[in-house]
Subunit: 448 residues, 2 copies
């Protein structure tokens, strides 16, 4: 199974761009930049390393293997873009080279340029990857001569607290403790903590977990992926949040909930009970201190009732909002061991869950993972090309066939959906349902 | 390591084709045809099958997973086509679906349409695959309503003798004896035969083998591929053959020999001794009878001295011609056991060699595999689109980093080169060298 994260970025070429802008962008990235050490290392295991995977610098680094120029067939709609990105997101990264790829994609009918970037989870987790890519951009549309996102000297993620397993931690580490098998945090976690976590998520303690109905998302998956992405204005979501006495993140969850309800209803597969989402969240100061001391991390997770069984959008939003508050309170009362465990789970669910065997439980502890990571608030540029869309793509796993990851950018909330191509049919319909649900929420809470 | 064969086909759209011809071709293939059973089966292994891989029909067959519409970035030269095909040829086919893909590719600047097809070796060997794809075409440019090459009811390969491990043998077989681990023939081969073969290729018997120098091709390989392809007029090759008292196949080998010499010279890596090629050939009637009785096959192999150390093209051609005659004579004097062994080796070298461990010998028994398979002699069409180029792509393996497979079509000899992207640098240069070498041969034997 592929365990890499991805990012789809859309750019508007600068006003002075010629017809060859995409090729020029590709060639500039290819020729002008020396990749940073992070992007030149690959895992290696031999008798010399006693069978333990170690990082090794690729001495025959071949930029054309990693940076690729691709194109969409006519008519060049987003549909063709999603199809290509789904294919690219399906293939595994080999161990024999640094585990990343970046595609510069031409052929969108509206003239925009897309980039699809893929990184093995061992290099950077999804959040850190999105931030690293964004951090090399500039707020100055006139700036030129900027290096590729993977270049040496490209700025590191600025908010260290939210880019925890990132660039800084790994290049120096000799042993590949990370997501090749499991996250660095989880690897250092004593088995007592694992048991605590497993009990928690199995609903054997009341504090942190719920039980979830089995749905079509909770089935074994194949290795092939479908992706879809779209954004909505943050002010619209914020107005719903205000009118509904909820947070922006609650509204994101309510949109997902309503969209899932519509989607499963169409397939005649809506469960009678509420679906449950695992939602990674930032920890508070005390929790961070505990998690850090134990080698854990600043991202935890809560289980949220999505209220997919309730027909009224306002009801769903209120339930989600209350459930999120409950989850955060439960997190506040957790023991240090539980905090560390939930932190590992929030940080790298796609590697921690299979390790814990949690994804094989029936009923499943939750139905899907929904993440929401704040991004830059103002427009960013790469050599004059304006970034107009930013969408994270993540890692479905067995029995968690759909992943929704959101990020805000320039007053837009970008939703990135990644699903198993076989297990999650008609993934693109969820975009329509997300749109319908935002409208329904606006009406229901009187925000339109 | 990927063990699939591929084919690159180039079509000229019919005179009445609109600008959407490629999309129409893709959609017609996608919508109008039901794939044949061969293309709906995938391997499956579970406790029910006692861990043995079995064929199973894919009940959720998803044509869009297998048939794909792709595009080249500008400027749409063959260079961009090779780059895309190299990438497509690098990714492995998963077990969870039928193990094939076909890409309909638009964006060539000259208006031609390309298809790249990829098949796991267990479905069809390369020869059978090329023939199956060609067999569904028509010699009638006016014919329309033709199904996709993978359709049910598409004509079977016409020359059974040369399409031996093909469509007919596998769909009915329950046990996946084939190239998932090794060829069907080799799997049924007693270990005494394997020892005979190993001795033969290790040069412990004088009849069938030579020793070869170690070259840069004879190194471990990575999983990523580069491909290149081009054709030359058969009449030019035939004139060289006549003037040089050689066969058409000898001229193909001489072109490869001279091109390898130029290529390795440029890299300052030409060995002092002659390189040796393994060349699959058809067996004669007696050999076929022996091979068939033992479960073997109608394709054997001989080891041919390429005379890469000799500076004169005419010398090289004469040496190759003599070495090929010697090899065929040696094959004629072989024992039944040896014939069966050489037949397995000729049939499926990429799976038989690793099984025998022959690819790990130092010095290697041979440096590369060069195959040449006759194809249709007259122009063929698919719904009015004329097939103008047909190039097989094959399987490099550890210590055999380059594969050359040729096929004739419509009086052109198409060369398909498949190499490890890292181990075989500048693969495309070999095309220039093949061209230079044909000119040099024409001069040397007085055929120009």
């Amino acid at each position: 199974m592929p365990i890499h994260v991805g990012a789809l970025h859309l750019y508007e070429p600068p006003p002075d761009a010629g017809p060859d802008f995409t090729r020029a962008m590709y060639e500039h990235m290819r020729d002008s930049t020396h990749p940073s050490p992070l992007f030149r290392k690959h895992p290696h295991r031999s008798w010399r390393t006693a069978g333990i995977p170690m990082w090794r610098t690729d001495e025959e680094f071949d930029i054309e293997h990693h940076l690729r120029h691709s194109a969409l067939p006519a008519p060049g709609r987003v549909r063709e873009l999603f199809e290509l990105c789904g294919r690219l997101h399906s293939s595994r990264l080999g161990w024999d080279r640094p585990m990343w790829e970046m595609h510069v994609i031409e052929g969108l009918a509206d003239g925009r340029v897309a980039t699809y970037t893929k990184l093995h989870h061992a290099l950077l987790d999804g959040v850190a990857a999105m931030r690293l890519l964004a951090s090399v951009l500039s707020t100055d549309p006139e700036r030129r001569g900027m290096p590729a996102p993977f270049a040496d000297g490209a700025a590191p993620p600025r908010d260290k607290r939210l880019a925890p397993a990132g660039a800084s931690a790994f290049p120096g580490a000799d042993v590949l403790r990370s997501a090749l098998s499991l996250s660095a945090e989880a690897a250092g976690m004593p088995s007592a903590l694992l048991r605590t976590l497993a009990r928690g998520v199995r609903n054997e303690t009341s504090a942190v977990s719920l039980s979830a109905p089995r749905t079509l998302l909770n089935r074994p998956i194949t290795g092939s992926r479908r992706v879809a992405a779209q954004d909505w204005p943050v002010p619209r979501l914020r107005a719903v949040a205000r009118a509904g006495d909820a947070t922006l993140n609650d509204v994101v969850l309510a949109m997902c909930s309503g969209a899932m309800r519509r989607y499963l209803n169409e397939l005649d597969a809506l469960p009678e009970e509420s679906m449950v989402a695992m939602v990674p969240i930032g920890l508070n100061a005390r929790q961070v201190a505990v998690a850090s001391a134990e080698g854990g991390n600043a991202v935890g997770s809560v289980m949220v009732r999505l209220a997919t069984h309730r027909p009224d959008p306002a009801d769903r939003l209120a339930t989600i909002s209350a459930s999120m508050r409950d989850g955060k309170q439960a997190l506040a009362t957790m023991t240090p061991a539980q905090i560390v465990a939930m932190s590992a789970l929030g940080m790298a669910p796609a590697v921690a869950l299979p390790m814990l065997g949690l994804h094989r439980l029936a009923p499943p502890p939750f139905n899907l993972i929904i993440s929401n990571v704040p991004g830059p608030k103002v427009p960013h540029y790469w050599n004059g090309a304006r970034l107009v869309g930013s969408y994270p793509l993540s890692i479905p796993i067995d029995n968690m066939a759909l992943n929704i990851t959101c990020t805000s950018y320039d007053d837009k909330m970008g939703f990135g959906l990644t699903g198993c191509r076989r297990t999650v049919p008609h993934l693109q319909r969820l975009l329509t349902h997300l749109d319908e649900e935002l409208v329904a929420l606006e009406r229901a809470v009187g925000a339109s």
